[in-house]
Amino acid sequence: MGNIERIDSRQVPAAREYLTFRLGNEEYGIDILRVQEIRGYEAPTRIANAPNFIKGVVNLRGVIAPIVDLRMRFGCERVDYNGLTVTVILNVGNRVIGAVVDSVSDVLEIPAQSVKPAPEINSAVDARYIVGLGQVGERMLILLDIASLIASPELGLIETREAA
């Protein structure tokens, strides 16, 4: 019982499947269960006065979904929109949100023991939103806690009580 209580979203209980994608030169992974679908990038409808990493909203079969450019959010040097640019549609807490990434690679199963805690470093990605660093052969995956990232106030996707 005690064990279960202590597990929070940042801890990895066992092997999990991650969708891996590239942002610039880095490789990231997110819980595959959060992914609803993967689409090619299409230009969204711009929303005025939104932060630059919020590209706007798109029509997702009748659902209006905001699009976040994770590359901009994480401070990638170059942000190109090309044939490989994809939008990962995430389903987080009843919300549908699109995340723009450079490309998606594959789905990997990473056992819990291969996930090392991320060291505290000064980066564009707050360590709070990193589950850990996954080791797959030579590759290092930055495993994101996408649910907390999406809900985070700095992303401004979800109105917090203070903002309202």
Binding site: T45, A50, N59, G62, V63, I64, A65, R95, I97, E159
Partner: protein
């Protein structure tokens, strides 16, 4: 064995049944609504058998369900109602207005009870009085609680009755001391059960034996201190001793013995048992009029039945019967329906929306095809076009429900309200079949309720005032719904006193509003939409307090609707509410700014014009105004508000669209007008946050998202 049984019953009660609770509550709610409606429609002089049967069936199905699910209080009340209704439909009893009152009140009680069971919260609803009244009616009595009302009406009251009648109501209040005589009994110890009864029922009062438990000639005497009425007590006592063997006499209030108890007994019931002190003549006289009484056992079976039941529909007037039969044909239409969750319908609407967009895309792409080569393909696309459109229409109509669902709540409300205000009001409804989006129906109910209450409270005069003005005693409030173009118009009309121009102007000036005599009638009527403006001379508990017409107008405006008032002093007034057919679809005007497209609600667009050089003046450094028909209004540049990126830097926006919202006007500067179309309104907040100056989003024909502008917010922005 015992364990197994209890486990089994837990299963059936706790798990198996609970999943049906929701269905039961919904059905019971429907049955109650139907019952109320039928009761209100009943013609008291000549009740229709079919209607009585229908009411009976409603009560019966609620009872059945309640008993199954173990809601004993609901089952008990419905059971009593059923008994009464059964007697009525068998013509064993004649329908009276108090019966309808009691049945309506029982319906309310059932609603409260069901709500309590459903939410698991709230206090137990006390139905003792209702139950008692119904039982009394079943027994053919006129119960005392509502007897006052019955006596006030031109009831079949004999000549001496009017005198004791006013005393009837207060007679029951407060604790009294009564002498209770029971007997003659074969077994005098039976009477001891009554003592136990007082012990069991806490609020009943106290009882003590006056004769030390010794019966004289089979008679027992008790002293009772109680605030319950005699009829109440009798009703309880019948479990132990028959009514004929019980009688009451007041102790220690000799003076009160004249009128008050006379009236009291009149409604209740008493018999002259041998050996008991004879009732006063006054009492007999009073009761003979409207109550009923039994003679002493010496007079065999001379039961004088209540006046109501004594005339078993002998002269049954039948003029309304034919008209009712016709009306019934329409009422039976709603029979075949199914329950579907709103989510599923919304999903369906979304999918059809997608289909429409895909279809539009296909149609566009196929334009370049050679008709000779692709004949079949193009024919197929044409079919697809038609089918899609039909499908869309059919799916949208799922959300539509007839206005009757809103109108149905008013007869009851007005009945109660008119009674409270001492007014006579007739409600006429027209266009109940007009359909409106379900979401809108829910939101329009409150504003409409307010308007109807206003009409009844402020509009319709008291009967005597109406007669003095040469109007019929009974006022009429008309509720009418109709389609006009793409919108629905709901009217609330009354033939009451109407609005007074002078009074409104005076009030407006008192409040410091600018109200010159030159205002047009329309503008004067519009004054009542000012916050805190009430035309009532005095605040009543019905209206004139707090929520005013300004709130009504605001609520309706938030639904994309408008309100209009027409009035003629002394002849009544008319409030027309114009609403879009659905909240999900809106008439929009699309405007282009740079490369982007925005949608303006067409309802707030006043006009648009080409900007000529020199029309726009600046105030200070930042504010800009434009003069349109001798009126200066602020200019809002959408390009700036929405930070639209520009690629052709020489371009100058040259079209202005005047929009009106929240009582103000602004001119929006745009690049081009793209056209008008119906748009499906989507919520932005579902997945994103609220965006300033944007009220929602929609999907355009090409599948892209366009933002719908919040004109109210744009107007507010210009004020700062």
């Amino acid at each position: 064995m015992g364990e197994m049984t209890s486990e089994g019953s837990q299963l059936s009660a706790g798990i198996d049944l609970s999943q049906f609770y929701q269905v039961f509550f919904e059905e019971a709610g429907e049955n109650l609504d139907r019952m109320e409606q039928l009761l209100l429609e009943l013609d008291i002089e000549a009740p229709d058998d079919e209607e009585l049967n229908a009411i009976f069936r409603c009560a019966h199905s609620i009872k059945g369900g309640a008993a199954t699910f173990g809601f004993a209080d609901v089952a008990e009340l419905t059971h009593q109602m059923e008994t009464l209704l059964d007697k009525l439909r068998r013509h064993e009893l004649q329908l009276t207005a108090p019966m309808v009152d009691v049945l309506l009140a029982s319906g309310d009680a059932l609603k409260a009870q069901l709500a309590r069971h459903q939410t698991g919260a709230g206090d137990e609803f006390d139905t003792t009085e209702l139950l008692f009244n119904i039982r009394a009616m079943v027994a053919g009595e006129t119960p005392k609680v509502i007897a006052a009302a019955a006596a006030a009406a031109p009831a079949p009251v004999a000549a001496p009755a009017p005198a004791p009648a006013p005393a009837a109501a207060p007679a029951a209040a407060g604790a009294r001391t009564l002498e209770l005589t029971v007997g003659p009994l074969d077994d005098p110890s039976q009477a001891n059960n009554l003592v136990d009864l007082f012990k069991e029922i806490v609020d009943l009062g106290t009882i003590e034996a006056l004769d030390g438990g010794v019966a004289e000639g089979g008679m027992r005497r008790f002293k009772v201190v109680t605030s319950s009425s005699e009829s109440d007590l009798l009703d309880l006592f019948t479990f132990h001793v028959s009514r004929e063997h019980v009688r009451f006499a007041p102790i220690g209030e000799p003076a009160a013995a004249a009128p008050a108890p006379a009236a009291d007994l009149g409604y209740g019931f008493f018999d002259d048992a041998p050996g008991a002190p004879a009732a006063t003549e006054a009492a007999k006289e009073g009761e003979a009029g409207y109550g009923f009484f039994e003679n002493s056992p010496g007079a065999p079976q001379s039961h004088v039945t209540p006046t109501e039941s004594a005339s078993p529909q002998a002269a049954k007037p039948a003029p309304k019967a034919a008209a009712k039969a016709e009306a019934k044909a329409g009422a039976a239409l709603d029979a075949a329906t199914i329950r579907v969750s709103v989510e599923k319908v919304d999903q369906l609407i979304n999918l059809v929306g997608e289909l429409v967009i895909t279809q539009a895309m296909l149609a566009q792409n196929s334009r370049g095809l050679d008709p000779a080569v692709h004949q079949q393909m193009l024919a197929g696309l044409t079919d697809l076009d038609r089918n899609t459109r039909d499908l869309q229409e059919a799916v949208m109509s799922i959300r539509m429900i007839p206005m009757a669902t809103v109108f149905n709540r008013f007869p009851r409300m007005l009945r109660d309200l008119a009674a409270k205000l001492g007014k006579k009001v007739d409600l006429v409804t027209q266009g109940e079949a007009t359909e409106l989006d379900k979401g809108l129906v829910e939101k329009i109910t409150d504003p409409l309720t307010h308007l109807v209450r206003n009409s009844c409270d402020h509009g319709i005069e008291l009967p005597q005032d109406r007669l003095a003005k040469g109007k019929p005693e009974q006022g009429t409030i008309t509720l009418a719904a109709s389609h006009q173009g793409g919108s629905i118009v709901i009217e609330v009309r009354d033939d009451g006193r109407g609005l007074s121009r002078e009074k409104l102007l005076k009030k407006a000036r008192e409040r410091g509003l600018h109200a010159p005599d030159s205002l047009s009638d329309q503008e004067v009527w519009g004054l009542i939409f000012e916050p805190g403006f009430s035309t009532a001379d005095q605040v009543t508990d019905v209206s004139g307090r707090g929520v005013g017409m300004d709130v009504v107008k605001k609520n309706i405006a938030s639904l994309g609707g408008t309100v209009e008032i027409d009035s003629a002093e002394g002849y009544g007034m008319r409030v027309a509410v114009r609403l879009p057919l659905t909240l999900a679809i809106m008439d929009g005007m699309s405007v282009g700014v740079g490369e982007e497209v925005y949608i303006l609600p067409l309802s707030s667009v006043v006009e648009s014009f080409q900007v000529e050089p020199g029309m726009v003046k600046s105030i200070g450094n930042s504010g800009r105004v434009v003069e349109v028909r001798q009126e200066y209004m602020p200019v809002v540049e959408l390009e700036q508000v929405f930070q639209v990126p520009r690629f052709d830097f020489e371009h100058v926006s040259s079209i202005m669209v005047v929009v009106e919202a929240e009582g103000g006007r602004v001119a929006l500067l745009v690049d081009e007008l793209l056209g008008q179309q119906q748009v499906v309104v989507k919520n932005l907040e579902a997945n994103y946050r609220k965006v300033t100056d944007v009220s929602g989003a929609t999907i355009m024909g090409d599948g892209r998202v366009a933002l719908i502008l919040d004109t109210g917010s744009l107007v507010r922005r210009s004020r700062h």
